[in-house]
């Protein structure tokens, strides 16, 4: 039985990260380090893994083992920084593993980011050829599929227009069309479906299941659990660089969604969990408080509750907004809200000074249906920088006792359970 598409053994990848804000090495640094290294070594002795001052080593991926049979669609889930992207980068040969081996049977096509290599000054036609070549297609192959690609992308009228004049939707469609027609034996997909309109997403999903049905192997990374559930049969869960779970998708998704939560209605971050690009934003805690002010894991649908985010700013940040996303257990968004959603307040708080803060809000009574939900945290300056993002910060349960319609013991559809002002008029 040698029908294996991918075999990964003890795969690991180590990165060197600067403790200080990352900056480019300069010759001077290297020369200075070269001069001082022997002295330091004399003083402290040579130790393996010692990386010099100002930098430390982290394993983005460690001791990962798995196999994928030909023609299977494997989902990969994990929180930010769990090592998903690193794994895909190794498998698509962008970067080398630090240890272990990955065995790849067949041509790998990667959709790590659609449109990579598109040049804004070139026309759609020119970009199809260029992008196809970058993805590893031969010119004849591109010529053969050209019409098909154009038809799929629906940009026929603009095919001789520079892509810088395209709308973002057209750009995306064209980019996906090229990549989707690559016909590799192994397709690696990272989060492409997070963008584009619903119609486009449906089309992409269709194309991807075609690829799978044609007997090719697909690795699919997504934060969207419903996409993972629809497309994959089996899923692996990565956590802090390790493969922690592998199971049929529905089981793996349940495991993932339930994992890593303290379950106490509070989530705190220690310094090791905060990526260094978050600076100067330091998240401290996310808490849920019931109407009495207690930190709780289970809330009542009929009572208002508070969400509070505690954080520190090491420096003032201009245009900062801190907010939450509320998601269902299946990863579908219920709503998004930021602490400066009020335009008046946003203008007043242009710059948030250094210091310690709590942003809190009240979710009104009779908002959520019973079930389990996930809170995600986002701290960003719009169109400038996303400082911090945890899409899986805290899970909590909503209990619907006393909620409208509870006298009928049936589950209600949808994540909302509002009290509506019904009137019955007899005509």
């Amino acid at each position: 039985m040698d029908d294996i598409a991918i075999r990964v053994e003890d795969l690991g990848k180590r990165y060197r990260i600067g403790v200080a804000p990352e900056r480019y090495k300069t010759l001077r640094d290297t020369i200075m380090a070269g001069v001082s290294a022997p002295i330091r070594r004399l003083r402290y002795g040579a130790s393996p893994g010692y990386a010099g001052t100002g930098s430390s080593l982290i394993w983005a991926l460690r001791e990962v083992n798995f196999e994928v049979a030909r023609g299977k669609v494997l989902g990969i889930v994990g929180r930010n920084g769990a090592g998903k992207s690193t794994l895909l980068k190794i498998l698509s040969r962008v970067t080398e593993p630090t240890e272990g081996v990955a065995e790849i049977h067949g041509r790998v096509g990667s959709l790590l980011e659609v449109g990579t290599g598109f040049h804004p000054e070139l026309t759609g036609r020119e970009n199809i050829y260029l992008n196809g070549a970058i993805l590893g297609m031969k010119r004849l192959e591109i010529e053969r599929k050209f019409d098909e690609i154009v038809a799929f992308s629906e940009v026929e009228q603009f095919i001789d227009t520079p892509v810088k004049r395209y709308s973002s939707g057209m750009y995306l469609r064209l980019a996906f069309a090229v990549a989707a027609h690559l016909e590799p034996e192994i397709l690696v997909v990272d989060e492409v479906l997070a963008v584009g309109d619903a119609e486009f997403q449906r089309k992409c999903m269709g194309k991807m299941s075609d690829v799978a049905q044609a007997g090719r192997t697909v690795l699919f990374v997504s934060h969207n659990m419903s996409a993972i559930l629809r497309l994959t049969e089996e899923t692996i869960v990565l956590e802090k660089g390790h493969l922690v779970y592998r199971a049929p998708t529905s089981q793996a998704v349940d495991y993932y969604m339930a994992s890593g939560f303290t379950g106490a209605g509070e989530r705190t971050w220690d310094s090791a969990e905060i990526p260094h690009e978050a600076a100067p934003f330091v998240p401290l805690a996310l808490r849920l408080r019931d109407s009495k002010g207690q930190v709780v894991d289970t809330l009542r649908s009929t009572e208002p509750f508070q969400v509070e985010i505690e954080y520190c700013l090491d420096q003032a940040i201009t245009g900062l907004r801190v907010g939450i996303y509320l998601l269902t257990m299946r990863g579908e968004y219920v709503f998004t809200s930021f602490d400066l959603d009020d335009p008046q307040q946003f203008i007043q708080m242009g710059v948030r000074q250094a210091g310690r803060y709590i942003s809190h809000c009240t979710i009104p009574a009779n908002t959520l249906n019973e079930g389990r939900y996930v809170l995600a945290v986002n701290a960003s300056a719009f169109r400038v920088k996303r400082y911090f993002w945890d899409d899986h910060a805290l899970a909590f349960t909503v209990d619907a006792t006393g909620a409208p319609g509870k006298h009928w013991p049936e589950p209600r559809m949808g994540p909302m359970r509002p009290v509506l002002d019904w009137k019955i008029e007899r005509l």
């Binding site: 090495k25 593993p97 049977h105 990667s110 040049h119």
Partner: protein
């Protein structure tokens, strides 16, 4: 099930593991991706003159203006007219390979960093990028060569001109000197492009390095002005051999400076080979470092 499915060859197995020691040059990879090299070259050329009013005319204007400036300075001010050849021709002959070299060195030196978004996302042999930068310089070289022919014709047929272009067998060696120019250019480009990934200082060094290099190459003057005992040291600059080779081949200026060209060619080859080895060894960390 069709027979095609039975006879379909098993796909190659690829083993991804950490490489240790010196990386293999593996130029076969580059050959497999030769079409990509051409696509990158084609892109560089297409993009270079997009949204310019004069378009490809810039490839003509740049060397001509350089030549006019040098002619003005070195004939009016310095009053030199070397080897009985009109100064513009003497100068332009050297500007042909110099233009190729300086442009490619500057473009290729930055090329990997410019294309970083591709390098961090997709696998393809990284060599294709600087190689394409050098090849796209070849197109400008071709245009400059046409301008050169026009200038030669002008000086040959202009009334009162003492210059006549003569076809000699030496002309047949011109492609060899062009190859030598490409070897030197590619070698230097590989070094700088790989260095620039890790040390962004390269971007700052390149402009004035180009200037210094320009003056230690016999472009505005003749290498015969360098005294004898320094000539071999002088030839360590591979561009010296290239420029003198061009002048000998096109203008028949004095005898072939063989010794000088051998030294230059050796140095050029050495730079290319070490450049390839260095590039290949740095390549594995490009995606992490860039």
């Amino acid at each position: 099930m069709t027979t095609e499915q039975f006879t379909k060859p098993q796909p190659d197995v690829l083993y991804l593991r950490p490489t240790r020691g010196l990386a293999a040059l593996n130029l076969r990879d580059l050959w497999i991706y030769r079409e990509l090299v051409l696509f990158f070259t084609w892109r560089d050329i297409l993009v270079r003159y997009k949204q310019t009013v004069l378009g490809a005319a810039w490839a003509v204007i740049q060397p001509v203006i350089q030549m006019v400036v040098f002619t003005f300075i070195f004939t009016r001010v310095a009053g030199s007219s070397p080897e009985g050849v009109p100064y513009p021709i003497f100068n332009f002959t050297a500007l042909l390979p110099w233009g190729l070299f300086s442009k490619a060195m500057n473009d290729a030196g930055r090329s990997l960093v410019t294309n970083r978004n591709m390098i961090t996302k997709i696998y393809f042999p990284r060599l294709t990028i600087p190689v394409a930068s050098v090849l796209s310089g070849l197109v400008d070289f071709g245009i400059a060569l046409l301008v050169y022919i026009v200038i030669i014709l002008y000086y040959t047929f202009a009334p009162g001109s003492t210059f006549t272009f003569t076809f000699t067998p030496a002309l047949l060696t011109l492609p060899l000197f062009l190859i030598l120019a490409l070897v030197a250019t590619l070698g230097v480009s590989l070094w700088f492009s790989a260095l620039n990934v890790i040390y962004r200082d390269v971007g700052h060094i390149l402009p004035f390095l180009t200037q210094i290099w320009f003056f230690v190459t016999p472009i505005v003057y003749s290498s015969s002005e360098v005294s004898g005992k320094w000539q071999i040291l002088y030839a360590l600059n591979p561009l010296t051999g290239v420029v003198e080779g061009f002048r000998w081949s096109l203008l028949g200026i004095h005898s072939l400076p063989l010794q000088l060209i051998v030294v230059s060619a050796t140095v050029a080859l050495l730079i290319l080979v070490t450049g390839l080895v260095y590039f290949r060894n740095m390549e594995r960390t490009f995606a992490d470092e860039i």
